[in-house]
Assembly symmetry: C2
Homo-oligomer: 660 residues x 2
């Protein structure tokens, strides 16, 4: 491909098309139905400003005005368009996994509006079209033009896959072509990149669906341009007369905020805005996979390792600092002021999935699972209408009310947000969950997640159906049944979750010794499969007392309970206020039990603890040589994802223990 050196073959596994996977799972089907029946319709209402009491969106009206269908002015954030794109992407995944003519009609209508809002040269962005037509491409640092374009491209690719309709894909290609005429290494083009990464991974999707290599080349250009000297943001800042879109923020000069402090290949730690860096890494992995660029892949590994070994919460959340929604420093993982944005965990899953395609190592899938079962599903309420943008690991509601250092930490999920990136991101992610379960490389089918589903794939032109039944996350029993017309040779690669410490595996009822067939956390079972073959897996799912690395100040002297992929927490509703008074007994025998009437059905854990007594203390604030008095209590842990569904109250993931 012209301009893009092929640096050697990099064989990667690919997710199966969503239409080949039908999730049927006690735990997950409910979420996907919630997205279909509530979240997507609710968000459509929100995008149309028809939710009483929610922050206004105006996103659909912006498109209608830009399309000349209505009169009015642009309203909202500079990246408001992306909410519509993410919604359309979620709709696409729903349509790919189930017919819904009415939803498709609504989508076609908004696609028509979007197409009408596109300008003759392919440009598409309602903020600049309506509000600042002379300012196009003049403020990449702050104004998210390429970010919005990236989301529109992702939506277009998804809609095309779902429906086969080209209209929005053509819009996306014209938009990408427009971008290609504006950006690039050639004289007269802009040598720049967007403040918020997203276009990079989107262009690779467009390359996949169109086969047009220029999109891949453009993606690589954006990645490699970032961090060059002199800094592009400062050049464009001077060019546009030193104006700022967000004068309160420092997007122009705080280079690490958008990872422009160094070339992406030289970055050794995850700095700045968390969503941006994981979207960037996803694009880097995409380009590395396509071009065989091992140096770029290695840069991905370096950043991955920094994130997961020094800067990630046990819930799979990242970006601990509210200021700039960003990473701070190694081992700085405060529970109570955590930012831990939902979108950042979704982005981390994007990054993990891409790394997993390049190298099938269970550490990537483990993190994917960790973020999925904890932060991602914690961020949405059981009713599908309330969301967490910020996902703290400890909450003291009164402090959220009165201490401004905690004002980003909400004790309850919110209806909508002025900056509403997270809710539609949750929707599009959950609607496409099927894409994260399996991937295929040659004759090997990888199972990354244990989610009940029916999946079809092809080997040598013959269709194979893999039916997975899973009791996750409450029980480690999983079974597969293979349906095929004729016996076929292929390899089933099954992930051994890091938390399980192993598994029992039976093939057709016979226990197999698999320990020698594990590579990087995946058991490879090569076999000539017969119709009706079955595999049964049993992963031990016991309660673990998790500790944080001793360099993490926040978790020293504390434990978090985890069982299978689920991280647990204490909530005030079960344990009263002042959760810091609870100290787990060291060798407590905790017991777990499934409570089908609690929070939609969750497994709770009960443990013995001391509870510090306050009453005997009196009014003094400090006392000399005072003995702490305690009483023995039982405390109840609930899954972290299910917190904040019973009113305001305290919550904590990390709990003090007797041990040091």
């Amino acid at each position: 491909m012209k301009g893009l050196p092929n640096m050697g073959n990099m064989e990667i596994s690919r997710p199966l098309p969503l239409k080949q996977i039908d999730i049927d799972d006690d735990f997950w089907s409910g979420y996907i139905q919630l997205v279909r029946n509530v979240v997507v319709p609710y968000q459509w209402e929100a995008l149309n400003d028809r939710i009483d009491g929610a922050a206004p969106s105006h996103a659909i009206r912006n498109f209608k005005i830009a399309a000349g269908l209505e009169q009015g002015e642009f309203y909202g954030m500079v990246f408001q368009d992306s909410d519509v794109a993410k919604w359309l992407e979620a709709v696409s995944y729903l349509l790919e996994t189930g017919q819904d003519p009415e939803l498709e009609r609504v989508a076609d209508e908004i696609i028509d509006i979007i197409a009408n809002a596109q300008q003759i040269d392919g440009y598409l962005n309602t903020y600049f079209t309506l509000k600042e037509p002379a300012g196009k491409w003049s403020n990449l640092a702050e104004c998210h033009e390429l970010y919005c374009a990236g989301h529109m491209i992702e939506a277009a690719v998804a809609y095309y896959h779902a429906t086969g309709k080209r209209k929005i894909l053509d819009v996306a290609c014209r938009l990408a072509d427009c971008i290609d005429t504006v950006f690039g290494p050639e004289a007269g083009k802009i040598q720049g990149y967007d403040g918020h990464q997203e276009i990079e991974l989107a262009l690779v999707k467009l390359y996949h669906v169109t086969g047009d290599g220029k999109y891949l080349i453009l993606s690589q250009f954006f990645l490699d341009e970032r961090g060059k000297e002199p800094n592009f943001y400062e050049l464009e800042y001077i060019r546009r007369g030193q104006t700022k879109h967000f004068p309160m923020l420092d997007m122009v000069f705080d280079r690490s905020y958008s990872q422009s402090h160094l070339p992406v290949r030289s970055q050794e730690s995850a700095e700045g805005h968390a969503v941006r860096i994981v979207y960037m890494c996803s694009g880097m992995a995409d380009v590395a996979a396509e071009t065989g660029d091992k140096a770029l892949l290695n840069a991905c590994r370096v950043l991955w390792n920094n994130i997961v070994s020094k800067r990630m919460y046990i819930t799979g959340a990242i970006g601990s600092m509210a200021h700039g929604e960003s990473f701070s420093l190694d081992y700085d993982l405060p529970s109570d002021t955590a930012y831990a944005e939902t979108c950042a965990s979704i982005g981390l899953i994007f990054f993990a999935q891409r790394m997993l395609q390049i190298e099938a190592k269970s550490e990537y899938a483990d993190v994917m699972e960790q973020a999925l079962y904890n932060t991602v599903i914690s961020s949405i309420s059981k009713d599908g209408r309330h969301f967490f943008y910020v996902n703290p690991l400890e909450v003291w509601p009164e402090a959220s009310d009165k201490n401004k250092g905690f004002s980003h930490v909400k004790p309850e999920r919110q209806g909508w947000f002025g900056c509403a990136c997270c809710p539609p991101n949750i929707a599009r992610f959950l609607a496409s969950l099927g894409r994260y379960i399996y991937s295929l490389k040659d004759r090997t089918i990888y199972t990354h997640l244990y989610i009940g589903s029916l999946m079809k794939f092809d080997i040598d032109g013959s269709e194979i159906i893999l039916k997975q039944c899973s009791n996750f996350p409450w029980d480690g029993k999983v079974s597969f049944e293979v349906s095929l017309d004729k016996e076929t040779e292929f390899t089933l690669a099954l992930r051994i979750p890091g938390w399980s410490g192993g598994a029992e595996i039976h093939v057709n009822g016979t226990r197999i010794a698999w320990e020698d067939d594990v590579i990087d956390g995946y058991v490879y079972i090569p076999r000539t499969w017969q119709p009706g073959d079955t595999i049964e897996l049993h992963f031990p799912m016991t309660v673990s007392w998790m500790k944080g690395h001793p360099l993490v100040r926040e978790t020293i002297g504390k434990v978090a309970l985890q069982r299978g992929p689920i991280v647990y927490c204490l909530e005030e509703a079960d344990n009263g206020a002042n959760l810091h008074h609870i100290v787990l007994k060291q060798l407590t025998s905790q017991c777990d039990s499934f409570d089908e009437n609690l929070l939609g059905g969750v497994l709770t854990i009960t443990a013995s603890a001391h509870r510090v007594q306050t009453e005997s203390w009196g009014a003094q604030l400090y006392k000399a040589n005072e003995l702490t008095t305690t009483e023995a209590v039982n405390v109840t842990f609930i899954p972290y994802f299910s917190w904040a569904n019973r009113g305001r109250g305290e919550m904590t993931v990390w709990v003090r223990t007797e041990s040091i």
Copy 2:
């Protein structure tokens, strides 16, 4: 007095004039000499912009320009004048306690300049005179006009006491008279009050020195006007066309920030900017003392109790929240993000001293001592040229560098500040330290602080000299020697510090039983004193393991070591990094020893501890069921006030223990 009901007599004790007290103390004389020889000269250079590398002040030039002596424009904060006033106040105290003709000449010169900067109607404020002459008295919420006036009045009263020269006192009277023509309950005057309390206590000082009751009435007016409905800030905001001086801040509408959310008599918790509320409470106590207003006094007690029993650090620091330099909520006392402004602790001492005058209860003096020996002297470096504005109880320097939630927390004292309220406040406070040792009521002389000194006072016209020798803070031995011409009957009231749990007292070598003569923490020794009478006190000074109230989340499971009035801390210089790895052994026998070569001579405490090992952990961020490995170590505590004198490093006051 017209307008000011006398609500009954309130007999109060009064501090002795500074010229009657000569501090001669191993511990304190060095500080006072530092103020005289270094701090005040250094600050004079700073105010004149002659310190390389320090933030510019421009404060003297502002006065010169306003006086017509130089050309130029105002520069600095809207309250820049107050730095000059506080410096002049410090100079006054130095002149009152020791002649210094050159310093007095410099002071007279700046007084001439200040007098020339005063306008014909008595108005004096260089910001408004130079920069916004049409805006006088239009933005009390934000612009500190009365605050600056208050500081000028305090300086003037102090200078008059020191030198007997009236020039600056006359300036102050004209300024106060001008204010009196502008503010008051009468039609045509402004019914308002300053955003930053200070004028209230200053006017009472002016009343004391002039005997003119209108200043007291004006002070009471400002106090009682605060918090009335409709809110004055909002009225003036509308009147001036809805402009803001600090558009980033919310001084106009965040009423509790400046304690205007309720009438001062109805406020039950310490809210908002910490310095403002303690200055306000000082003014409230002053007015209550003069008028006998018991309701106002009770309001002081309510706020005092809330502060000291729910919102004060063990170091006597207050105002835990960086946002708004303010109080947050009960028991919210984070160590690492503490704001704990130096000026707020000084203001707390002002408040304590006034309460102590009204009611001699050792709890007030205990807090005064706690703030003095810990926060106040921690805020100034041994070289007298570097200062802490913020006084954290725990520091992780890398977090201060990289996590914006900690950016206010400096691991090292700074040379000067753009907002330079604290350094001159420290100077004026330390220069007047003598005023806090004793107070006199009728025939009772109260000793509040144990500081070596020679003090003269009068009973029935005969001069008595009390010579105090003190080994504080390293040893609890104190002695007094009484010199008088003829035997005189008076009562010596001696404070029993809360931390001591008691004392041994000898009068002329004979141990006395005093336990029945204690009222509110003071031992009363009535006696007909003879020349040469001696009193010897011995307060047990042992190391206490201090605990915080169990509702303080930050201190649970931790202790702070205190010995006498001194709170201790661990520093990286003695104990290596990662102080959170240190866990004190429960029944450790710590030993203390005086190290005269360390930090100018301090008593250190050594204790046995476990130290968590990191090396064996490996690269994983979280591990299941991992046992923590530790090694036995001895750790060394140094006085909190002496931290950060050996380069950047970690520090913590609260240390983990084995016990719950």
